[in-house]
Point group: D2
Chain length 368, copies 4
């Protein structure tokens, strides 16, 4: 082999969160995957059905535009919960991996799939890395994240903090409307795309199905909206709300960018237009516009927190591509067999809601 995959000596801390802390464990084809959540207070009731509901929303095989892997995603809470209530100790959620095809993944060591982790993961961890089904890099790891997020969102919900996401763009079909959490919730699960407007849903579905027929994939944008988050939370500098949210969001495979409020469009605006004047409304301070996306100086101001997330087209496509044979150093054609999501946006919607829940609860606990 011309390319040598060596080990790196130190593997740094990969915990997420300051007060509410999470760690993922397992991989695509290990016996189970899971998440450890530390920092949950004791005496909280946990609604397991809400967790399963969110897992079902994320689940593979839920319809014919998602991957065919069959996973019931029945989770277990193996510690930290007693008689339905949190104990205040680390809470561990595990989900078994059942449909782990015995397919040979070792070919991808020699012939790495384009825009896939086959090559960089080996560079990073060396030859011993378990890359069956993309191992720990697999989107499958978002299942425990979704379960943990469902717990966080239950707790936020009790404080009237609500998070909702939807597909606002698929390919070049873009719905520019800003929806409230309530409109998003009413509509997002009524279509395969997880968008809000029925007409846009129709167009987007058609696009995804066309792309799927062509053994190709397509990208999109997810819009996220948070209502009810208290004003005055977050910090300047390295734990600004935007920093904490962006770090979490950018950790989700397939995400390529994030913008808050008016985002990149602010680049062509003037201050006199972009500034959000403070106004008095229903006995509370708010702002006339919300170009800032609910955050100024890293701190929430009480208006809805809004951001948009760019999602790339799935790297795994059936269409013939070209890549490199690392042994022969020659370019080779590659046809990836198997069913893949032609567009991961609908499933990313569920994952983003979850991880944002974890971030916001961490911020809340960190400032209490």
């Amino acid at each position: 082999m011309v390319v040598k995959f060596m080990d790196k000596k130190t593997i740094p801390n990969d915990t997420f969160g300051r007060t509410l802390q999470i760690n993922l464990f397992g991989g695509s084809h290990t016996s189970e995957i899971g998440i450890e959540i530390r920092g949950l207070p004791s005496q909280l009731s946990i609604d397991k059905e809400r967790i399963q509901h969110e897992l079902n929303r994320r689940r593979p095989g839920q319809n014919n535009i998602t991957t065919g892997r069959k996973e019931a995603d029945l989770f277990q809470i193996t510690s930290g919960l007693h008689l339905g209530k949190t104990t205040g100790e680390p809470l561990t959620i595990t989900i078994p991996n059942i449909d782990t095809k015995s397919k040979d993944y070792s070919q991808f060591k020699t012939i790495p799939r384009p825009s896939h982790v086959d090559y960089p993961a080996r560079l990073r961890y060396g030859d011993t890395i378990d890359l069956r089904g993309s191992g720990r890099f697999s989107g499958r790891m978002t299942a425990p994240l979704v379960a943990a997020g469902a717990i966080a969102r239950q707790i936020l919900h009790q404080q009237q903090i609500e998070i909702a996401a939807y597909a606002s763009q698929i390919g070049n079909i873009h719905d520019p409307t800003e929806y409230t959490v309530s409109s998003i919730r009413q509509n997002v699960d009524s279509n395969l795309i997880r968008t809000v407007d029925a007409e846009f849903a129709h167009q987007m579905e058609n696009l995804v199905k066309t792309v799927q027929k062509e053994k190709d994939s397509i990208g999109g944008v997810v819009s996220v909206r948070i209502e009810g988050f208290p004003a005055g939370l977050g910090d300047p500098w390295f734990h600004s709300l935007e920093s904490d949210i962006a770090a979490a969001i950018m950790s989700i495979p397939g995400v390529r960018g994030i913008e808050f409020g008016t985002g990149f469009a602010a680049a062509s605006m003037r201050g006199s237009d972009h500034n959000d004047p403070f106004v008095w409304q229903n006995g509370k301070i708010t702002t006339k516009t919300n170009h800032c996306g609910g955050i100024i100086g890293g701190i929430s101001i009480g208006t809805p927190i809004t951001f948009q997330v760019a999602v790339k087209p799935t790297a795994s496509i059936g269409k013939i591509q070209h890549t490199l044979n690392l042994e022969t150093q020659s370019e080779v054609p590659l046809e990836i067999i198997g069913r893949h999501d032609p567009c991961i946006v609908p499933r990313i919607v569920v994952v983003l809601e979850a991880i944002v829940g974890l971030v916001l609860l961490d911020v809340l606990y960190s400032h209490s």
Copy 2:
């Protein structure tokens, strides 16, 4: 006062970095500001002139499109350096604050400036917060960041890792060309905007001066490019390279979004176009295209790391705006006196190069 600014009890950890760790201290009008850098190895030579050079590039008052505050920004390294070499102990850099106008800032407590920290900072820290000159929220805090970044970049430079940024958009004037580090460096300091192309520089300068005359401000986009960063660094999930970089970038005041590689444009692309085929070039693996911006699965692949950063128009404008008087609950007109940067993009260019240097060195040390 109708609005009550209370304290929050716990103020969480605001350290940045895992192995190379930084903390900022001081504020706009304290006697000095500074940064503490922990995790630097011993026995490194530090070139103080490079630090001063970068501080001068960021400095206020350097030309007539930056704020008029006069600061020589002469820094001191008060510990961690001995006979020109790092000792391996915490390295502390301090910069005195000299031009701290005794202007009255307390008015902004009652009449908060739109899109400014006057209101959220008090919500967060309560009445005792020192908000003279925006206190710790001030862009002035980027001076020690730039000094620290200059140290990090010296170390990276010894390993042929180079970072360069430039203004690729001001208002709606956009230069779509992708430049190499070397072309950026040759041109970026030859114009007030810190853009690369002379013709674009001319147009952008005119726009900024027009906006300035109108007592308004304008936003823009900064493009960042890193060459020479080794393949195989970064991690999946919470410390993906994108997460670490995004967290750092989103902590800089005025930044509203970040996108890696093709970024938001990937939303309308197909997988067959967006995937970057691996190819063999000059005895090394690389990719034909670089839509991924040099990062796959959170890990560097050895191609240039590229990302774009959205910068909002400066919130402080001379033009009359409307805001709220928190005592009377009535809307009031507001005219902010004093000279402000009509566009912070040229100075943000310098700051982003610095903070990216700190992030990359942290990643390097974390994986060594």
Copy 3:
């Protein structure tokens, strides 16, 4: 109930280690207990038999002076190991809990056992805490620690770093000899007490059996010796070697004190006696005496690291004691039913070797 057990809101980070990080999960009567180890490099071979060997040394029911709980302690590595080698990802070890008696523990809420966690654990976590079998406070949690420590010690062993511990005191029977790692290893498992000298073993065993017959318990001291740890590791101040070791050791239930080298006896010594003169031996720097226990200024000097650990007598005794009924506020007699270790020193020996292994490997990786 007169005493109210409320919840505490924030539960802080309980991760141990800076580079090699561990977290425990589960409790005495949950379905499984486990440990997550983060920071292990990839490509290390793991000898599972060594792990099982150490688990067997710690195991309950191994002889008639340990608790009668029957646990095979067969462990599983559910992630982080692939084809016998570490992958560089989080390594998760789980051990099922089998012999979880359905005994009623709720009585101890009203009538807390003296010097037991029944009372403080509820004060800390509130009523929802799972205290069956003392829950997460149980000595049972040392099983995953021992498993993790066995991995750490394999890695240290490859660098000729060896750790050995033994009972140097039981009650007032004290063996003042300092033994080498090799003598400790040759003898420590040949007697129930895990002491070195056969004659002392005999006396100590007799004492433990006498105490056991009287339904009482007895304390002791464990001496720990580390050979081969490289000079020049550790830091001044908050991560001095002594700080890191002491923090780990003091986290083990039943430990009441730690002293390094000459320890408390140094209090009555003069500097001229206590100072360890540097001498040259076999081409290396060493010291004539080792009063410092191998550590100066928080940093290893290459001589054996030695410390002693005080272990209290087991709190669970069959003998009738007095305690409080929290409902009636009256003193009540208490007879604790069931078999308990009359002396936990022999099992603590195994646990201390394990946790010291984890600390030293963390130090090694942190300074690499």
Copy 4:
């Protein structure tokens, strides 16, 4: 030079605390030394006189049994305090170094002083380390610790949490009495030793003066007592109260051991004697005895927290010793010139009170 002092690549995180976090900076002969405290809430009044009072208690040159270095130890709070109140931002305290003798310390590189950091510090950080006056390893660094501790103790005091320490043993003169905080405070500053009983003070002073005349030094024990610390704070395992306290205490130069409550004496006790029966007293739960030193299962139980700390005799003695010349590899006689504390116990008393204050406030904030 036969011995080569190389650098170590990674210098790990040396922050102390989870919620209230501190970092030290500077060294014995840098222009200033200081501490950064993060995690202090906003709106707290700080009494600067209390800080100076504690600094004066620790100060060198305060009497003829302390080192002759002349330092006024006038501190400055350079950020985090505004109009006498904390702002909630990082609080930075600096103390100038004035009396930095230009003496040549480089000789100690070749001829390391026994039981001093001359040798291990160079092994750890390499040749570039600034070891003038022992650099960052110097006891001088305890000055900013004492200042920070004085702030922590003011905050604890408002919640009726009081910490007091005293010398309970010097050489083999040992006062076995357990004193309350109030008796300690009444007496501790009335004698040079900082012990409680006048007769013991007299004996101990005589011993120290004798030792001083002989150009030697002597060790001792400091007893620490905390009253008013709320029950129910602390955690099992890695952040047990004992772990947090021990880690802090063991970071202070000269400390060789720590024991809680009955400590090492528990080794020879039976459970039936060592267990602390719960009793009802003045409407509160308490224990008849306090062998546990106020902590069970890592958690406070509301009784006084007590522990003892072993302090070694000062390594710097005037008496002729032997050490090694690293260049010639031969043993050489060494006479250390200059005045040194013949016994550091009286100054350690002040330092321990300070650092315990920082630990307890961190625990308090972490559980709020």
